[in-house]
Symmetry: C2
Subunit: 342 residues, 2 copies
DNA sequence: CTTAGCACTCTTATGAGGAGAGTGCTAAGG
DNA sequence: CCTTAGCACTCTCCTCATAAGAGTGCTAAG
């Protein structure tokens, strides 16, 4: 922000323009500034000041003989120099406190989901919360636990942040004792190493082994390396996408899309809607439950993992390439089913 | 679809109308049908058939003297009776196979993320994949493990589906032996119970205890009940939201929003962008890295968990209520920070 | 430096007119 | 009875012209 210096009067008028524009979403005229602002000046004087602000790049006219709207630079000056953050009212803080109390003993994912819900309610904007990304975390403990039927659970605890786990599958058979030995080995290799170094460390130590482990263990270690890669376990939570689409800067025909992206839960609900499908199921336009989907179609397939079914598919406008997409979803759901059947 | 019966010719023409509309995104005229369709009829005859289709509610005219577009019912008939799914080419199947091979040993979340990526690439539509929802799953094993500093890791393994874990925090102090005893107790109570019954079961058994456990254990069990509630651990993966917004049915000014919602990773990237923030940070319009955000602002705050920082905030158009929202984000990030500091 | 007054510009709304697209109808032909 | 050629009709879309309104830039006086 170096280089932009404003007089008090310029600041005041910039603030009036910005706050007027935020309120009305329309270019702000000099007379409108005179009306709302505390300065007692004529519109002609305000116009002179506005011209100075325009020359400094803080506001602009969409066209000659229109009012002014703020530029990014104008907002920047406003945020850096003029904004006084508004605290929450006592009532709001109290309400938030009691909501928050419910989250005290929950895990990070639940807390973040709750926070993004609360923020989006309070702000009437889309709220997001992301868990810390894990590149610099130091591994304290790694464990592999056989949980039967070719499935192995991997757990990694780091010095900070959430503990991460995953279930890995192997194609071969193994004995519990072998898994346990592999677990001890990994632990010896990785304790004190950061997550971002983990994959390279495994590769390096693997090369030093004689003989090199093969078969199910080799495959397993590939899975472990993906599992340990930074970013793999982090998660984003968001809520309130509908608020973005409701703003007048976006045309109303996109407003319905806001509902689809309103939160992860909404999206999951849309896809999970037609649960009793056998093969590939097509839900067209107004057949959808979600009101935001009345002009969209969903092509969904199912896959099984153990005894329960999951869903996958594509979402697009009703005007979509059904023959191709039905074939595609059918193929992928079968392939996924096979992959998870191992 | 009972009640709608079409002659062969009506079917053929319906198909031409739908496929023409899918291709061109414009109303299809009778002469256009004659041009592409194999039937050798005059446009006047086609018009007569179209009128019959319109009376049956399968197609409609946006206005008099325009071509026809399909209704939801038209698409429904088409999907149920006329679509022959198109298989993938050998080349596509091969490419998919080799991509898929990389996912063999990965956990479910990674597999689903990979699948939604592949489907969105292949379909040029938004792809989604959801893990099975867990209400009916039977609990095989529950474990609580103390991992130091008031933190306890909870793990639940069910007969099917992904194993779920969470880190719970307690406000009190405890001994490892106590945690271990609580773990055994939970296991005895819950083994064989479904996830959806778990919470009620804990409450019931808790009532039978004499004396009722209090202090840190009571709080912990509240956390466990939230953790075990069905749906808490499921997750959606999606990718390719940009494809929805690119379709001509939505106006171009919303197209940039597609990029923001393109995938969970994109959204996380946007929020994580300005990492070195001290307090609340405002990123305005073109200051954003993401090209889809040039007309949006991000107000982000940080929270600490252990030594690493996470981020939370709101996203909206540059025309937003900065004073209120900066105050709000500041308050919530502080409150979240405090909550996680325990 | 401020302001009143006024000419100028640009948007927006409205309506008219013409071209083009596509239909509905009718009457003739197979 | 079904099909089709021909034609009138309707509706959209584009352009142009006009008028009203909003808001500015400029200038000269206070």
């Amino acid at each position: 922000m170096r280089g932009v210096e404003l007089t008090d009067r310029e600041s005041t008028i910039l603030q009036s323009v910005i706050e007027g524009y935020v309120r009305e979403a329309k270019p702000v005229s000099s007379s409108a500034v005179v009306r709302v602002s505390s300065v007692s000046l004529s519109s002609a004087t305000v116009r002179n000041v506005m011209r100075a602000l325009e020359e400094k790049g803080l506001i602009l006219q969409p066209h000659t003989s229109a009012g002014r709207i703020p530029t990014d630079l104008g907002y920047r000056y406003y945020v850096d120099n003029l904004v006084k953050p508004v605290g929450l009212t006592a009532g709001e803080r109290k309400a938030i406190g009691s909501e928050l109390a419910k989250l005290v003993h929950c895990d990070l994912a639940t807390v973040l989901a709750g926070i993004s819900h609360m923020v989006s309610e309070a702000s009437r904007e889309m709220a997001v919360a992301v868990a810390p990304s894990g590149g610099g975390q130091v591994i304290e403990q790694v464990a592999l636990v056989a949980i039967g039927a070719g499935r192995i659970m991997a757990v990694v605890a780091t010095d900070v942040g959430p503990t991460r786990t995953a279930v890995l599958t192997t194609d071969g058979t193994f004995r519990r004792a072998e898994v346990s030995r592999a677990s001890d080995l990994l632990n010896k290799w990785l304790r004190g190493v950061t997550l971002s170094e983990a994959s390279a460390t495994i590769e390096k130590r693997l090369g030093e082994q004689d003989p090199a482990p093969g078969g199910w263990l080799g495959g397993l270690l590939d899975g472990v390396r993906v599992f340990l890669s930074p970013g793999g376990g982090e998660r984003i939570h968001y809520e309130g996408a509908r608020y973005i689409f409701r703003h007048p800067e976006f045309s109303t025909d996109a407003a319905s899309l806001g509902e689809i992206f309103d939160s992860e839960e909404t999206l999951a609900e849309v896809v999970r809607g037609p649960v009793k499908a056998a093969e590939v199921r097509v839900v067209i336009g107004a057949e959808n439950i979600c009101s935001g989907m009345t002009r969209m179609s969903l092509i969904a397939g199912t896959y099984r993992i153990g005894g329960v079914v999951g869903r996958m598919g594509v979402i697009g406008p009703t005007r979509m390439k059904y023959p191709r997409l039905i074939g595609l979803v059918g193929y992928f759901s079968k392939v996924l089913d096979d992959l998870l059947a191992e």
